[in-house]
């Protein structure tokens, strides 16, 4: 869509004579070569049948993280053991309602981000600024937007119509959560999928708008490397720390530094997605790390000014900033932090007040002003602060540890129940190692430091960091900056091998930093699959964690593996909003490689992806509501997602039953015949406890009905190989995945045949190569 711009050089009427004027008349839908399909801008009801199809195979298993409901004043209601609330709701509906609230919150956050970002970019670059995410190499620039809304955006303002659609749908989704609305858990789940689909449209709006306006890397597999890690920050320079997800204020800081010739005199660094996006703009910016690094980095005192925008910011950031005498600038109305709004004041006044500590911080809703203020304040307070720290030095850590009575309280409030008490005992005896060993497993939440936890007044988190000075000095890595979209040419090259199964899978390692153990686990998982020639894509905090690990050649994985979307490539798409390029790549496989109609044709594309594209998401440290909405966008496309153990608190899995044969039939699109294809993929959403379990599940969940015998053999090889490597035994479900003897990996023939014989396996007919869940896609009815 675009504004209709009319220019009239000369106009003569009875009443008017005019020369050379131009006017706009709103926006018109611009036609693209494809006619719209059946589901343009679907509402909550439009895709309900598709959702129910998926949900009949992958039934929810609810895990009430809270058994009570306290949403309205008739509560609290106990819903456990078959009871219903005062409004009539039961536990299954309540849990799915909470999932919907979570996914709607997540999608609303991305949509609101998109609105804010787009408004700012249009104000700065104009509504006609062209969308360009990869020049000629990316013809399908907005696969999610095109698929869902039927809009082919050419300019920034074209994105507004897609955004308005998202906003409208979100209101309906939120309303469905009210007391006395939806009562059926499966209908709640369908709405969850709807929220996820909306989410990916919003994510795509955000990222293609910022790529186009800021000239971020455009689908570039060779996007440059950036520095990441606490020790890449030069402590001799004034330092500005940015935290959050909305990058414009941070970019304005950089622009002002450049204008003032200060690019090399100030450290501009960041935490979370704002940092990732900032490095897409300038190689001068540095990344501190994922959001688990917030407390430790702020308390390190290195930041002279802290600038926050929105999302994933510690809500006590002002308290923490005050502790180290670092002025705080809040740049977003969704996150005022109680600070006075100084947007209309003069820069000199604001700078004076912050430098003199008249105020601990200000809210400043003008990105350009933020740029100038942050730089000027950093330069002025740098000497005064002298990098004031709130982290104890090693002797102090040892002295404090001697006071620990090993009561165990800190461990009992720690989300990962880290063994702090026994580490304290070692430290008291002069051995810092057990405490510093917790450094990578500590998610930096600070719960162990709440006022009532330690009766001795100890601060375990700070002590862990204080004991880890040597580790922090080695916190220095390289990350490939977010490349954005996947090129159409890359899709053409890998589409066939993925659909046939010869590239064993696409693994998307995404999500937050709420890890159950060391953050390095993400990298270890990534490395395993890179070596096995999967395509590994990454985004957000997970993309950062993958970099914070060195392989045996002392390289980060981004140095060791290319950034191409091909077998053995490690593709950092960018920040959280770049997850849309991962779903987008899957959509493009269906539309570009398989030539399925893209325009408003959700069901057919999702059906194609679900049955043929061996992709799986892994959100090992998933924490936020945004992570749940991102996952739900993948669910509606039929793509399985694995989460780490904390992900069990999302309150449900979507699990297949491989023991129920009836669940695993598809239709052959050519004949209409029902064909048993085995549990491929077995689950849609599952939480596992150990990284080894995730590694075994990944190749298994990449199996699809469309695999050729060669492709199935490759996937089975990885599944069986990893299973035996970690569990020391052969899987007992191989017979469900071997269709003919040609599916058996050649190097494993003997042992696999033995298992098949034990199971009474019989060769089945080769499944159709045109599998579908929906009879409407059968071309000749059988």
């Amino acid at each position: 869509m675009a504004n209709l711009k009319i220019r009239i050089d000369e106009l003569h009427t009875d009443k008017i004579i005019a020369k050379g004027f131009e006017f706009r008349v709103g926006r018109l839908i611009e036609e693209w070569e494809e006619e719209p399909g059946p589901t343009q801008m679907p509402n909550i009801a439009s895709l309900r049948d598709w959702d129910r199809k998926l949900l009949s195979k992958y039934k929810p298993f609810y895990l009430p993280f809270c058994e009570l409901c306290c949403l309205c004043t008739m509560g609290k209601c106990d819903l456990s053991q078959g009871k219903r609330g005062a409004c009539g709701i039961d536990m299954a509906a309540q849990q799915s309602r909470i999932v919907l609230i979570s996914c709607t919150l997540g999608a609303a956050t991305h949509t609101a981000h998109a609105r804010h970002l787009l408004d700012e970019l249009i104000a700065k670059y104009g509504p006609d600024h062209p969308i360009d995410v990869g020049g000629a190499s990316v013809y399908v620039e907005a696969p999610n937007i095109r698929l869902v809304t039927g809009i082919k955006p050419k300019t920034l303002s074209d994105l507004e119509d897609a955004l308005e659609y998202c906003e409208k749908e979100l209101i309906h989704l939120l309303a469905a959560c009210h007391t006395g609305q939806e009562g059926d858990n499966i209908d709640f789940e369908s709405k969850v999928f709807h929220a996820g689909m909306i989410d990916h449209v919003a994510l795509e709006i955000c990222d293609i708008a910022q790529i186009s306006a800021y000239n971020f890397p455009k689908a570039d597999p060779e996007a440059p490397l950036a520095d990441i890690g606490i020790s890449v920050i030069d402590p001799t320079k004034p330092t500005i720390l940015v935290i959050g997800h909305n990058v414009p204020p941070s970019i304005e800081i950089y622009e002002y530094m450049k204008k003032a010739g200060l690019e090399d005199s100030i450290e501009l660094c960041g935490i979370c997605c704002t940092a990732l996006d900032l490095t897409r703009k300038t190689s001068k910016a540095k990344i501190v790390g994922p959001l688990s690094h917030q407390l430790r980095f702020i308390r390190s005192g290195l930041a002279d000014v802290i600038v926050v925008d929105e999302q994933c910011i510690r809500t006590d950031v002002l308290i923490e900033a005050k502790r180290v005498h670092a002025p705080l600038i809040s740049t977003h109305y969704r996150n005022f932090q109680g600070l006075p709004d100084r947007t209309k004041d003069s820069i000199d006044e604001i700078v004076k007040d912050l430098v003199s500590a008249q105020v601990p911080g200000v809210a400043l809703l003008d990105s350009e002003k933020v740029g100038e203020v942050a730089v000027k304040v950093a330069l002025s307070v740098f000497k005064k602060r002298q990098k004031f720290k709130a982290i104890p030095l090693e002797p102090e850590v040892i002295k404090d540890a001697k006071r620990c009575t090993r009561c165990g309280n800190c461990q009992r409030v720690c989300p990962n129940y880290l063994p702090i008490p026994e580490a304290m005992l070692a430290v008291a005896n002069g051995n810092l190692e057990p405490l510093s060993n917790l450094y990578e497993a500590c998610i930096g939440c600070g719960r162990c430091e709440a006022y009532d936890v330690c009766h001795q007044g100890l601060k375990p988190h700070s002590m862990i960091v204080g004991a880890s000075r040597l580790k922090m000095e080695q916190d220095r890595f390289k990350i490939r900056i977010g490349r954005g979209a996947i090129q159409d040419t890359e899709i053409r090259a890998v589409g066939g091998p993925i659909v046939m199964g010869e590239i064993p899978g696409v693994v998307a390692i995404v999500g937050c930093a709420n890890y159950p153990g060391s953050w390095k686990d993400n990298a270890i998982i990534a490395e395993e699959f890179l070596k096995r020639k999967f395509i590994v894509t990454a985004s957000g905090c997970a993309a950062m964690s993958i970099s914070m690990y060195k392989n045996e050649d002392n390289q980060s994985l981004y140095e060791a593996y290319p950034g191409i979307f091909d077998a053995g490539g490690l593709v950092n798409c960018g920040s959280c909003v770049a997850n849309s390029h991962i779903s987008g790549a899957l959509i493009k496989i269906a539309s570009i490689f398989a030539k399925r109609k893209l325009n408003s044709n959700y069901e057919e594309i999702a059906d194609y992806i679900h049955n043929r594209v061996g992709a799986v998401g892994l959100a090992w440290g998933a924490m936020s509501q945004k992570a749940s909405s991102i996952a739900s966008g993948f669910w509606r496309l039929g793509v399985p997602v694995i989460v780490g153990p904390h992900g069990s608190k999302y309150r449900r899995g979507l699990l297949g039953r491989k023991d129920i044969k009836e669940d695993w039939y598809v239709l052959d699109g050519r004949t209409g015949k029902r064909v048993y294809v085995g549990p491929t993929p077995e689950h849609l959403f599952i939480s596992v406890e150990k990284k080894e379990e995730a590694m075994v599940l990944i190749p298994k969940l990449c199996m699809r009905p469309s695999d050729t015998t060669k492709g199935r053999a490759i996937k089975l090889y990885h599944y069986i190989d990893l299973y035996t490597k970690f569990y020391g035994i052969l899987p007992d479900d191989i017979h469900l995945f071997v269709r003919t003897k040609a599916d058996i990996p050649t190097t494993m023939k003997e042992e696999v045949i033995k298992v098949l014989e034990e199971k009474g396996w019989k060769e089945s007919e080769i499944p159709s190569l045109d599998p579908t869940l929906l009879s409407k896609f059968v071309r000749v009815k059988g």
Binding site: P64, E67, E693, Y727, I729
Partner: protein, 184 residues
Amino acid sequence: MKGLISEPFQKYEIPGPIKALVISKPKVVSSIIKRAKNPIFIVGHESTKVELNGKKPIDYVIRMAKASDIPVVAVSNTAREFLKRDFKPKALMASMEIGNLLTDPNWSINGKGPHDIALILGITYYVEWVILSGLKSFAYNHLKTISLDRYYQPNANWSFPNLSLKEWYENLEEIARELGVMEK
């Protein structure tokens, strides 16, 4: 039993109003197992994490399972430790998978009719907490759950209170012994 506290080990994992009965005597467990029609044992990675006097909790699991012929589901990466001890679990699966199967009154791992008792030991504390919560609400008609973990699991039907390592081992030993006696 010194230090008997019936509150969640992870302090903020507060349950609803229905909480696990505290196993005050190990005999309670052995007699429930003896009366059970088709018990099942679900064993996770924490069963191999600690050691006292050369024994790990998994060793007690094996003794109990052998004594009462209870099928064992090894959860997460626990299988290797069972195999090292020459014990083949009936199945390997993720904790969420076995939790889901147990909600189905028509499912059993051995074809001997629905499971009426699930013994659980060694799943990550907060994961076990939510899985037990799932079973509490979606399997309560046909299944009772017993946590044999060291720490109180409020969503089980029965659970030990928070115990010292030594107390935990003593309890496990006594249950294993009781079941062994029954075998003879």
